[in-house]
Symmetry: C2
Subunit: 338 residues, 2 copies
DNA sequence: CCGGTTCGCCGAATCGGTTCGACCTAGATC
DNA sequence: GATCTAGGTCGAACCGATTCGGCGAACCGG
């Protein structure tokens, strides 16, 4: 069921079948139809490996995701879904590679075995050796996230620094003066996880600008951790009246801790954050948050990667998203705690 | 940077390099080291396409997921994560293909372009033409889920029928006599979505066995739908005191509807369901549910697929998981509603 | 000293496409 | 009527690996 078989049955040369399929040279209407008929009869489809070998490209992109062991956040899932979707729309397949931990081989295979034409890299650290490896391999890539030297790579990212800063300003406008930032896990931040550091920077900046009192806390990515984190914060800092957070996954736990402490949201305590819209809207009460446009960012990442593959020498482009804060049900005027 | 270049620099034939790498024929220790040195110096990795072409296999498996447009449930995500993980562990890459909707081409490419050695298919309908296509293509595949004729395919699945039946029996044991089943969306059920139908069958059976009064309701996969669905159920069936459900995504909305109706869980109203453990544990109160062992099922699916690829003629195997119900905080003795 | 193994390696064929040069024919141009 | 052009097709080379048959050298027993 290869191109030779088609050619034989249609009574033409293999090259003619190829041209009939690709249209790179004219083929008479009559011949084309004869070939087409045979192809449909045998349900023939060109062998992807053979084509990739000769053409030097695979029509496949790699998507490097965090390892499965650590649960993906709603936002990360949104990225994966839209990347797959956008790629399918462009007739590209997506090869998944869990990087980090024990799966080095997977990343290595994808990067170095010419299995893909380009890579989209998620969960980038400020210093990220995967970026280094990709760079020296010459494979086109786009980051969802960026390193500390973002100039010489192409990326899309969420402007956590600005967004957390805006959250703090919003809370300050409501009269809050003692605000905590609930960050992602301590390990992630220690490992140089970009959003964690940038959120902290934005928090520090805004707190200084408004002359507030800020508390920084790390929190693992699950509801249980959110609960105990906020319990601890409330105990150690009785003056707190508001939280800003980028930790989506822990939010339900944070809600629970506040409820258990007898604090009503937003009457007694306010929360503002950065989250996927879907998540924010489905919380109870719905979260006042900057809604990360995952769909747009994911699609844009694919688009940029396609451009990069087509013209690897083109200048690097960047997209920093800073969506406005959607006021929902979790922020209100400050009220001193009992 | 191909095998010829390595051969040249090492002063041997290309075939020798190949044998040194694969070990399929003996190569002297000295020659092997010389070759190895060149390989490491140039950071050479064999071209995946060329190898796939010659070997006739790609060392890649396809994972067919529901289209991104419909959000994946926690359980589905669990499957994706563990499949990717298990595949990576077996040195297999995973090609993602969103099927359904507008992405027919993606599925077609994966199935028919010999891009993968086998396929794992998720979200299977009772009658599923993707199964038909896979079957006639001769490509090995494993279902996570099964059709209405499950004998002649290999699959792993969750025994929704038994599990929902057990939920009902558990609720009946607690004295509940008026129970609703909250199913997945009406469209999904109408389209012949297996879990929906099997859950309904189990529900009907248990209700009959215990001589109960059962109400069946479909509900879209989001919190908002869960809220309005339960609101409606409470209004139309004031006698209800318990819900059994397989709709993970709608559960938070269901909680909210009960709370708004002034019904405390589990004091005034009980809920039992089938869900990913992670989700059940993180609800407030934690859900009494049969915890679907996604990790085991996903890993097993990969394992079965690998066997099937190795020996396509081997008999079909099946794994039907019926985990026990974990009693958490959402079921208690029946108490007639006001 | 000779026939038979074994070891280590080479050369060539092969997988299934794409692509380039060449050829033939028919119609247009002058 | 000779020359040119364009359309339509063919044959062969090529992409980068794997794999099979075979060949020379070393080694063995008789």
């Amino acid at each position: 069921m290869n191109i030779g078989e088609i050619a034989r049955r249609a009574g033409v040369a293999r090259s003619t079948v190829s041209y009939a399929l690709t249209g790179k040279r004219p083929v008479s209407e009559e011949t084309r139809q004869r070939i087409q008929a045979v192809i449909e009869e045998l349900n023939y489809r060109p062998n992807a490996a053979a084509r990739a070998l000769k053409e030097g490209r695979t029509r496949t992109i790699g998507l490097v995701i965090p390892p499965a062991s650590q649960r993906l956040t709603d936002m990360q899932l949104g990225f994966v879904a839209t990347v797959v979707d956008a790629a399918a729309r462009a007739d590209l397949d997506v090869l998944l590679s869990p990087s980090g931990g024990e799966h080095e081989r997977s990343f290595e295979r994808v990067v170095t075995g010419r299995r893909v034409d380009g890579v989209i890299l998620m969960e980038i650290r400020l210093e990220d050796d995967r970026v280094t490896r990709l760079r020296q391999s010459g494979l086109p890539f786009v980051g969802i996230g960026r390193t500390s030297h973002p100039e010489d790579m192409t990326w899309v990212d969420v402007d956590y620094e600005t967004l957390i800063s805006q959250c703090v300003h919003h809370l300050a406008d409501l009269g809050h003066r003692d605000i905590a930032l609930v960050n992602r896990s301590a390990e992630l931040v220690a490992a140089g996880y970009g959003p964690g550091h940038r959120a902290q920077a934005g928090f520090t900046r805004a707190v200084a600008q408004r002359d507030l009192h800020g508390v920084h806390a790390c929190c693992a990515d699950d509801a249980q951790a959110g609960l105990s984190c906020v319990e601890r914060l409330l105990a150690e800092h009785p003056e707190l009246t508001a939280i800003a957070t980028i930790n989506e996954t822990a939010i339900t736990g944070m809600y629970r801790a506040l409820a258990q402490a007898g604090l009503a949201v937003p009457k007694d305590f306010s929360i503002a954050g950065v989250a996927a819209r879907h998540l924010a809207e489905n919380l109870d009460p719905p979260l006042t948050s900057a809604d990360v446009p995952t769909i747009e960012l994911g699609a844009r990442a694919v688009e940029l990667l396609i451009q990069r593959i087509a013209d690897p020498g083109s200048p690097h482009r960047h997209l920093l998203a800073a969506p406005p804060i959607s006021l929902r049900g979790t922020t209100g005027p400050a009220r001193p705690r009992a």
